[in-house]
Symmetry: C2
Subunit: 246 residues, 2 copies
Amino acid sequence: MSGSQERAREVGRTRGPEPGAAAGRIDVSSRIRSDIIQGRIEPGTKLREVALAERYEVSRIPIREALRSLEAEGLVESRKYSGSIVAPSPVEDAEDLFEIRTVLEAATAKRAAKRASELIAGEAPGPGWRAQRKEISDILDAGDIVIGQERYEELAVLNMRFHFAVAELSGSLSFISLLRQISGKIEWLYSLNVTRRGPQAWPEHREIIAAIDAGQQAEAAEVMARHVRRSRDSYFAMMAERPHAT
Amino acid sequence: MSGSQERAREVGRTRGPEPGAAAGRIDVSSRIRSDIIQGRIEPGTKLREVALAERYEVSRIPIREALRSLEAEGLVESRKYSGSIVAPSPVEDAEDLFEIRTVLEAATAKRAAKRASELIAGEAPGPGWRAQRKEISDILDAGDIVIGQERYEELAVLNMRFHFAVAELSGSLSFISLLRQISGKIEWLYSLNVTRRGPQAWPEHREIIAAIDAGQQAEAAEVMARHVRRSRDSYFAMMAERPHAT
DNA sequence: AAGCATTATTTTGTATACAAAATGCTAATG
DNA sequence: CATTAGCATTTTGTATACAAAATAATGCTT
């Protein structure tokens, strides 16, 4: 690999970036993702790299890498030499997304129950079980408290945490990463409507955990599937009432 | 043509990179992915950007973007300021990967059957149906020919194409992109063993399509699930015979 | 004036240069 | 001798500079 090293270039001492330009920053891709999900950037918007670079006060390089990640999540669509645009609103994919959640989460519940049954049989369920199981109890308790105090807005994040906690209880990294893949679109979907599923759905979580704890794989899968389908029905019922802002 | 305009365009000759440096190149990320899947780079290997840049004869920028994509596929693991390494061999995740395929592909078969039932009912199944359905027939025929001529090595790629074609027949982009997400690891899994599933599995594909064409959703899902599970069993039977090179 | 070829302009893609963090090594100290 | 503080090296992260492609604008021909 040769290369004409002799640039004979005036020493560019003037080159350094403004000191302090790179102030404390929180991962650009998260900020863009958030801006898309929260609707601060509309679907179809052309994401020009220089504009984003200015907006988030970084250069184009981090922007480009962030766009690659967001592309993998399906929040952004890119074509070579043609730039990136914000993906179309996920409302069209709502049915698919709920179906995906149904089958994947039923599988995670089943696997979690399998691990529990191993525990019951005296075998070791693998590392982390205790902590993961406790995490779920904490989430369930927190949900009850939140409901008792009628702070329903906080249920959404707890709900998300519960479902991911079950995935982690399954011990299967492949399922977790797949669920994480679609979580962006799921969040986006829900953020399109301020209303969320009411508190009456929360107790279903305890049924799911009961089946898992009992080591009943088929039961756990079925209860989880039913739970997600109800959440689907609730979503579409809501959409029927108040038309969405696509 | 009055006045030939000599636009002196060659002023800034100072900085240009070696001419011809960017020769015809085929997407770096595909090449790295291929090298990982084919085992030319072992799991756990530190992927240093400069080394990759030299190996693929590009600068670090395209390398970094490729690594982001591969990270999303789970073929590479990265930590900030700590670089990227090739993900561990997917053999440990084999069970999970087959389970994921089972539930996702059963769902795609079900949806494809649903579209077919709409066609039967006289409704329009949506755009692309005809072409997609024909594509499947072509693949099935090609497989029969290949088997007839005992060129079994070519079955692997046809098999992959068939399953993706069914996903496309479902008309659900979300499912397709999720399946594409794990396809890298699936390919990796299979490439670890030269042997593949024998030709006796091929006719099962026609059963799946038959159920879809008949618009029998539950049946299509079940047949597809059974098919993937058999492929799972076949894989593990093979692994039991000849120990893998982890 | 309409359609098309050609030239500007814009935007993405990539290479180089420099800064920041992590890693490894050396040496001083208990 | 083990440990650790400090320094040097290595490697990733990011900014700037330039090249290539696409898009917009211009002018020419019919």
